[in-house]
């Protein structure tokens, strides 16, 4: 596969093979690792002690430091154990601080990892990378950002998933009871295209500074395409976006939480040209994605506790024509920009109904 323009050059002197491994042994070792139950089904880089030690070249973290107890097993996620999983995923030392930050982020109680990892829902953690170091490390935020071809995105997302299974115990079909699973359970990591965004990046909305390097995690379904080639005004565009977001089967109508909307650069340009602030976009979409109770009561998880949910007070449960918003507040629609050049497309990512959580990467770097 060709190397994309923002992919870093391979790191010389790192990840050299231990001399003891003969070429003919490699296949045997890969097969033994495949049979170990430690992999995601794809071949892994063997977590040789030497490779794991190399992960500490660019971090202040000590091997025995417990980053968190990782649910659902509540086992201690030591830096060394996380490093072993990062090596298996294919990480280089420069990727490792992002993995540590992602593990820390999913452990925030507001993310509710314990329930999320055991849920029947079709979601998995998405990592959204932001900050000035993203280019140096080589994260892709342009064309095919949700897809394959860039090492940093691939290995950081994969490392988190391996940690969730190997340390957290979220074994598919055993503890992870997802009915369908999710292709992002192999890897699911993008970066923000901050230069193409007319607004503050997501980390600033979530309380971090412009100069901070961060990861944000989100319990995410797959990205859903929104094509609007002919829209010439913000309202024409946002009416299409709103209609694409408003699906009665989404869990958000019933449990709230955050949703993520990724504008492609062309759509972001259209909104920027007319001076729409992010808060204007959020308010418009909050207003135009509502569904009537008469429909919602046949879908989702309508049930005996519907009067205890977190709908705004102005929703009248006695009136079936009363409109329910997709999420409770406009700011619960998290907006960012990513993707490559091309005709107007954006992506909507519904989720499981919890919050986006951001964590610092810098704290793990000397």
């Amino acid at each position: 596969m060709h190397r994309l323009p923002n992919s870093p050059a391979p790191c010389k002197g790192i990840m050299s093979s231990p001399a003891s491994v003969e070429r003919e042994d490699v296949r045997t070792l890969l097969e033994e690792l495949a049979a170990s139950g430690w992999t995601d089904g794809l071949p892994v880089v063997p977590p040789f002690r030497r490779y794991v030690d190399e992960m500490f070249h660019l971090t202040t973290a000590q091997p025995n430091h417990v980053v968190t107890r990782l649910d659902p097993s509540a086992a201690p996620a030591t830096v060394e154990r996380i490093a072993a999983n990062a090596v298996m995923a294919g990480c280089l030392p420069q990727h490792f601080p992002y993995v540590l930050a992602a593990v820390e982020a999913v452990s925030d109680p507001r993310f509710n990892l314990r329930s999320h990892m055991c849920s029947t829902h079709i979601s998995t953690p998405l990592i959204i990378v932001g900050g000035p170091a993203r280019d140096k490390v080589g994260f892709n935020y342009e064309g095919n950002c949700f897809g394959a071809g860039v090492r940093a995105n691939a290995v950081v997302g994969r490392a988190l998933n391996l940690c969730l299974v190997n340390i957290g115990g979220a074994t598919p079909q055993v503890v992870d009871r997802s009915i369908f699973g999710h292709p992002g359970k192999y890897t699911y990591c993008i970066a923000e295209h901050e230069a193409a965004s007319p607004w503050d990046p997501l980390r600033v909305d979530l309380g971090f500074s412009q100069t901070e390097d961060t990861v944000t995690v989100y319990a995410a379904e797959a990205p859903h395409s929104i094509i609007a080639l002919c829209a010439e005004s913000p309202s024409e565009l946002l009416n299409i976006v709103a209609d694409s977001m408003a699906q009665a089967g989404l869990t958000h109508y019933y449990v709230g939480g955050d949703v993520v909307l990724v504008f492609g650069p062309a759509h972001a340009d259209l909104l920027a040209a007319t001076g729409w602030r992010k808060s204007d976009v959020q308010a418009y979409l909050h207003e135009h994605t509502r569904k009537p109770i008469s429909l919602l009561k046949y879908g989702g998880i309508w049930g005996r506790h519907i009067d205890q949910n977190r709908w705004p007070d102005w929703v009248n449960l006695e009136d079936e024509s009363s409109l329910v918003p997709l999420v409770k507040k406009p700011k619960d629609i998290k907006v960012l920009v990513a993707g490559g050049p091309g005709a107007g497309s954006s992506a909507f990512i519904p989720g499981w109904g919890t919050r986006c959580i951001t964590a610092s990467v810098r704290k793990w770097i000397p």
Partner: protein, 103 residues
Amino acid sequence: MDESLDRLIATWDLISPVPPESAHRSRPLAGRLGSLAGAKGAFLDNSKDNASQLLRDLARFLHLEFFIGDASFFSKPMHTRGAPGSQIQQAAQRDFAVVAIGD
């Protein structure tokens, strides 16, 4: 960890990506009741109807077969969020608690 994995790690000088079983949080078992007869029970569900149905059927069974006392039922406000502390404290006032999820 089974012997084959121990051998794999030793042979290739690997760092295990999996914590030892002993590293998993050991949650001490609650004190065992000598008898359920007359004991007050707390039943906490995850706010989904099947969980509620399961727990109510279980409480009925325990009442008929083991003569438990009062049964108190609790539901988390939302399945995507943890039970609030006040709810857990109320449940802790009973002699025993049963927690279940349903879908």
